[in-house]
């Protein structure tokens, strides 16, 4: 099952289980349409109707604001952006409203809101390419999930729907496995069997995707797969990367990472966001402050260079980390 289908299954199951769950977003619930930009909500209106699969105008502030208002008054909305880049149109609602309502009410108003947003460079140019997780990670009041496998996509989305707080789910365009007219060039195939049964994946529990003894690599989304590819290549040279998929950035599973560091002594983060102030910087700083004794060498951040993403595929490939860049950084680290 692809990630797009796993997400759709999670939404379907949660909407069947709980009549207060609704979807709200642009280009969803349009018969003959796409089911959101990447097919996740495709066809859901046939089972749940247009009242629960709410198509909106191109009004990001409006739709997120409406989702916040609905969440405060008894519904459990799943709101989605076509591209994560568009979330800045709704910045007030995402930064000033949604994550502060519970707090400002003195803990008397809950906001069970899920926001979904596709990230990642995909040869669409600077405004359909960003991986802006750090903006939300920085803002108190949000939980942040970054699923990279179909199993996690389903389990984390179901957990998010049941959470009584705002949960942001960042999904990667090249991992969805969208098909038909919405198929992405250069997409990865991350199909795997996903149980039909009702399961959830807890927030704040990382998964070790590949064991290794030399470097602890924390990577998400597409960068997770590129780190695994680098690990495969380096293994032939006798360098073993332990690749950890944090699955959520808030809360973040420092225990699993530190346990790994106890064995490797080397920390690398790999992210598709630009480097300055990215989530990798936060993980590195936190571990340096609280578990500096575990680090046998300065930590390394591999990230997209600090520039907007160019439309040229050649330039995009240059700016975004690939397996070779990750491998080179790892080599430099063990050789130092």
């Amino acid at each position: 099952m692809t990630i797009a289908k796993a997400l759709r299954l999670a939404i379907t199951e949660e909407m069947r289980r709980d009549p207060t769950v609704i979807c709200i977003g642009e280009d969803i619930g349009t018969p003959g349409g796409w089911g959101g930009a990447f097919t996740v909500t495709w066809g859901l209106e046939r089972e749940f109707g247009f009242e629960r699969i709410r198509n909106t105008p191109i009004s990001e502030a409006g739709l997120i604001g409406a989702a916040v208002g609905a969440a405060m008054t008894g519904l459990r909305p799943i709101a989605d952006f076509q591209y994560a880049d568009f979330m800045f149109c709704a910045a007030d609602q995402l930064i000033n409203q949604a994550p502060k309502m519970c707090f400002m009410s003195g803990g008397r108003t809950k906001v069970p809101l899920v926001v979904r947003a596709p990230v990642g460079a995909s040869t669409r140019g600077a405004q359909h390419a960003q991986s802006p997780e750090a903006w939300i990670v920085h803002t108190p009041g949000w939980k942040v999930a970054v699923p990279s496998t179909p199993y996690d996509a389903k389990g984390l989305l179901k957990t998010a729907v049941r959470d009584d707080n705002p949960v942001f789910i960042f999904e990667h365009k090249l991992l969805y496995g969208s098909s038909g007219a919405r198929k992405e060039d250069h997409a990865l195939e991350v199909d795997e069997p996903v149980p039909d049964e009702d399961f959830t994946v807890p927030l704040g529990v990382a998964a070790v995707r590949r064991p290794g003894k030399h470097i602890t690599v924390v990577a998400t989304h597409l960068m997770l797969y590129r780190a695994l590819q680098a690990a495969e290549e380096l293994a032939q040279e006798g360098i073993e990367l332990e690749v950890i998929d944090p699955r959520t950035l808030v809360p973040f599973d420092y225990d699993t990472v530190c346990e790994s560091l106890g064995r490797t002594g080397h920390l690398m983060t790999v992210e598709e966001d630009t480097r300055r102030g990215g989530w990798g910087a936060e993980i590195v700083a936190e571990i340096a402050e609280t578990h500096g004794d575990l680090l046998q060498a300065p930590p390394v951040r591999v990230a997209t260079y600090d520039a907007p993403i160019a439309a040229s595929p050649v330039m995009e490939r240059f700016a975004v980390p690939d397996a070779a860049r990750i491998a080179a950084a790892a080599m430099a680290m063990v050789e130092a």
Binding site: T20, T56, G62, I64, G65, V68, T73
Partner: protein, 337 residues
């Protein structure tokens, strides 16, 4: 625009509602006025922290609209929320405690003046980002439609919100989805110090709101009975499932925009006209003229409001301050409802 701000002075006076309701409107306005006046004194004396945006002079929209609402109905409010909170029924003592930052405040000291609210009374924390509450009100309307038919939302905002995108996005959602939302624009002619005519080519905001495809009305927002009558129509429409309305209430601040503002940017003729039309005085005169109340009855209401407000502020000032570490609570939902 004339100093009247487009107010239709020839419009016949709205009929008085029945006596209990009419007196109730006066009482709500008096409670708001007393609260605001006393809060202002406390601020002047440095006894309340932070800042405050007050609504002396703008009591009628809050009172006239909320008189039609049940406790289960919702409102959204702004950085100037005290009047709305009082009219929606939040106890004055809880509000006062909130202003003092006490743990006994309606937001446990986390909200303060600009985020006044209480879910028990259908008021989520007021949003101090201009127009931020409009899309939120649309979403609350979605909840009403799906979970609580016949429940409605009154969304309060000022003329300043009208040129913010969030207003237009929210108003459009209310319209296309036929949501049970009444958009209540308190047009006090100034966004902070900026006059409405300098930032709107068409300063009759109701005229612009009409383009969303909803009924609109402009009323004398200093005449609580006029507001009450028009709001009654809009709210009945929302309750019946017939969709949103836009109600523009022309009103005027008798206070500064915020605590130290002296209103030096206001036109003298305009000021004289509007300050001569105190909504409390207008209501009082009308009640007496129509024989709906006696001087003695109104004075009883005034004295009771004075006493209630005095007690509330005393309570708030003496209410316990939180430990500092309370600052880290409620970032996430901790409790059950």
């Amino acid at each position: 625009m004339t100093p009247f701000g487009g107010l239709d002075l020839d419009r016949p006076a709205a009929p008085l509602p029945e006596r209990d309701q009419a007196l109730g409107l006066y009482r709500t306005m008096r409670r708001i006025r007393e609260f605001e006046e006393r809060v202002f004194k406390y601020f002047q004396a440095g006894r309340i922290p932070g800042t405050v945006h007050q609504c002396q002079g703008q009591e009628a929209p809050a009172a006239g609209v909320c008189a039609h609402l049940l406790r289960t109905d919702y409102i959204t409010s702004t950085h100037r929320p005290h009047g709305h909170a009082i009219a929606k029924g939040i106890p004055l003592a809880e509000m006062a405690a909130e202003l003092f930052g006490s743990i006994l405040g309606c937001c446990r000291g986390h909200g303060g003046s600009m985020h006044m609210g209480s879910p028990e009374y259908g008021m989520p924390p007021a949003s101090a980002i201009v127009a931020g509450g409009v899309p939120i009100a649309a979403g609350m309307g979605l909840s009403c439609r799906r979970l609580m038919p016949a429940t409605v939302v009154a969304c309060f905002f000022g003329d300043g919100a009208f040129n913010n995108g969030a207003f237009h996005e929210g108003a459009n959602l209310c319209a296309i989805w036929d949501l049970p939302v009444v958009l209540v624009c308190e047009n006090n002619f100034y966004g902070a110090s900026t006059h409405v005519t300098t930032v709107n080519k068409i300063p009759r905001l109701a005229e612009r709101a009409q383009s969303y495809g909803m009924p609109t009305e402009t009323v004398d927002g200093n005449d609580v009975f006029a507001v009450h009558e028009a709001a009654g129509r809009a709210i009945a429409r929302a309750r019946a499932g017939d969709g949103p309305s836009f109600l523009e209430c022309l009103t005027y601040r008798r206070c500064g925009h915020s605590r130290r503002d002296q209103n030096k940017y206001r036109d003298h003729e305009e000021e004289a006209f509007w300050l001569g039309r105190d909504p409390l005085d207008l209501a009082r005169a009308r009640l007496l003229d129509d024989g709906a109340a006696t001087e003695a009855e109104l004075e009883t209401i005034d004295r009771a409001a004075q006493e209630e407000v005095r007690a509330a502020l005393d309570y708030g000032e003496q209410a316990p301050q939180p430990p500092g570490a309370e600052a880290l609570r409620d970032v996430f939902w901790e409790g059950s409802e």
